[in-house]
Amino acid sequence: MAPLEHYLILSAVLFTLGVVGVVVRRNAIVVFLCIELMLNGANLAFVAYGSFLDSLDGQLIVFFVMAVAAAEAAIGLAIVVLIYRHRESTDVDDLNLLKL
């Protein structure tokens, strides 16, 4: 049986990879995918902790995260498709109408 720490380190690695991806990548869809990776890192932590604590709460929270992820994907992709129709690009840096 793999110890809890192994699961947690893996989840931390996934979460961090997701964060790095969000910050580093410029394509909006890849950024979405990286956000999914962050959520999955959290999910893994929930499942591992839940099993360790002998509590089903961890698994149930993951269900809700999946519902949220599905809803987010629908909205996010709708926004990207909308922008793509106007702009023919999904590059985050092309978002320059609103200057910083």
Binding site: D57, I75, G76, I83, V92, L97
Partner: protein, 492 residues
């Protein structure tokens, strides 16, 4: 296996049910009777919000107010926050009806999404469970992402929607991972159980718990636009339709601050000095960044965005005082949110009303000479600016006074001083607008005043309501402050 039917306190749940039911009804009505007048749907939505407000004021919180095992919590705090959220939705519906560029959009979808967002905010504020905080936050965030890009032909709006979405979901990722760490450290996502675990077994104040708490603070900090997570705010506020911007600047902040508040109340007394330092730094950075950046803005929506960041900083001062266990701070926090909602909504309403079809007046220069061309509108704007700056005899002054004195009472010295200095800085950009309106000749007059559009009555109603509220709270604050203080009786 039998599953018992849960005990449901319908009276407590009624405000949320009314809003959700209203959303579905508005959508359905628009789908089946699309030829009806838009004003009917607006009136219907306003009626839904008003009845939900009535229902929440009528439901007296009792001892059995924790429904569904703490997933839904109806106490005095919830009641006050519900009133705030419903008030801000009410205003934003009025503003939406008055805004000319929103006349062509499908009213059912738009109003339905406003109501869904409202329900999400209410659910997020009325819970003890971090899971419900997460789900409620997602409901209103998703609705607001769509509302930000609702004018699909406008590239700025689309961009605002994407930026808001990317940063918002990034932040919810942090919130979720923080929840996972807290769950691991304490075995629960229920704030009451977490608080109990922290008292009974101090080892659960482990690194995992502290980092989890930090991540949750990051996630909520994004939503309230606190430094250093406020970068998205000016862009999103500028690009969104003005009525939606007004909603964003009040509703989500109320909900997220309410959740933040419950979190602090649960873990605050036990999580100790680390949180104190974090809140202190966040408050100072937020108000300073907001006020200093606001000075240089040439777009009024961006200026109001930075101003709302600054106000989030002041509210963080109240939260820092709440962490030290001050009931006075809680009361002044609620009172501040109430006044902030009114004056901010009022200011955005002037922006909406000053615009004409197709050309919104978003540059600050556009307001030159407004005192001569539209004296009533300029007077209202001057009132809201004076209140936002915190000058008597307006509500803004009283609210700031209560808030900063609460901070002094719990032993903060430098924090209130810095906050007052910040208020002084903020006077410069608020009054610059007033000076511009009255001391400068108008530029070329707008071809056609926007207020004469079909939505003028809505704008008028919103302006009168907001102005009356701001003045009333400035001159007779005590009764409402008492109410805010009494609302701080909590169940956990």
């Amino acid at each position: 296996m039998t599953i018992p039917f849960p005990q449901i306190h319908w009276a407590y749940l009624l405000p949320v049910l009314l809003v959700v039911g209203g959303a579905v009804f508005v959508l359905m009505w628009d789908a089946f009777f699309p030829q009806r007048e838009r004003s009917f749907l607006v009136t219907l939505t306003l009626a839904v919000l008003a009845s939900a407000l009535g229902a929440s004021l009528a439901a007296q919180p009792g001892s059995e107010a924790a429904s569904m095992g703490g997933m839904y919590l109806y106490d005095g705090f919830t009641r006050f926050v519900f009133a705030l959220i419903l008030l801000s939705s009410f205003f934003s519906v009025l503003l939406s009806a008055a805004q000319r560029s929103l006349e062509e959009v499908p009213a059912g979808d738009y109003l339905g999404l406003i109501l869904f967002a409202t329900s999400g905010m209410m659910l997020m504020a009325a819970t003890r469970s971090l899971l419900m905080v997460f789900v409620g936050l997602e409901i209103f965030s998703l609705a607001l992402y769509v509302l930000a890009g609702f004018l699909r032909g406008q590239p700025e709006g689309n961009e605002a929607a994407l930026k808001y979405f990317l940063l918002g979901s990034f932040a919810s990722g942090f919130l979720l991972y923080g929840m996972a760490l807290i769950f691991g450290a304490t075995g629960s996502v229920d704030l009451m159980e977490i608080a109990q675990r922290l008292t009974t077994s101090p080892p659960s104040r482990s690194p995992a718990f502290l980092l989890g708490l930090g991540f949750v603070v990051v996630g909520l900090g994004f939503k309230v636009a606190a430094a250093p997570f406020y970068m998205w705010t000016p862009d999103v506020y500028e690009g969104s339709p003005t009525a939606v911007t007004a909603f964003m600047s009040v509703g989500p902040k109320v909900a997220a601050f309410a959740a933040f508040f419950r979190l602090l109340l649960a873990v605050g007394p036990r999580a100790g000095a680390e949180l104190d330092a974090i809140l202190w730094v966040m408050a100072v950075l937020t108000m300073t960044a907001g006020n200093v950046s606001a000075i240089w803005q040439s777009n009024i929506k961006r200026m109001l965005a930075y101003s709302s960041i600054a106000h989030a900083g002041y509210i963080l001062v109240a939260l820092a005082a709440v962490r030290r266990g001050s009931d006075l701070a809680t009361g002044s926090f609620l009172f501040y949110m109430l006044v902030y909602a009114l004056m901010n909504m009022g200011a955005f309403c002037v922006v909406v009303a000053a615009g004409a079809r197709g050309e919104e007046r978003t540059r600050i220069e556009d307001y030159a000479g407004l005192g001569y061309t539209r004296p009533a509108l300029a007077a209202a704007m001057a009132l809201f600016m004076v209140s936002l700056a915190g000058i008597p005899p307006t509500g803004g002054f009283v609210a700031k006074f209560y808030l900063f004195s609460a901070a002094v009472k719990v032993g903060f010295v430098w924090l209130p001083v810095i906050a007052v200095l910040n208020s002084v800085v903020s006077v410069s950009y608020y009054l610059r607008l007033v000076v511009l309106m009255y001391m400068r000749e108008p530029g070329e007059a707008p071809a056609r005043p926007g207020l004469l559009g079909p939505g003028w009555s809505y704008a008028l109603a919103a302006l009168v309501l907001a102005a009356a509220g701001v003045l009333n709270f400035g001159i007779f604050p005590s009764s409402f402050f008492e109410l805010a203080l009494r609302s701080t009786l909590l169940l956990n």
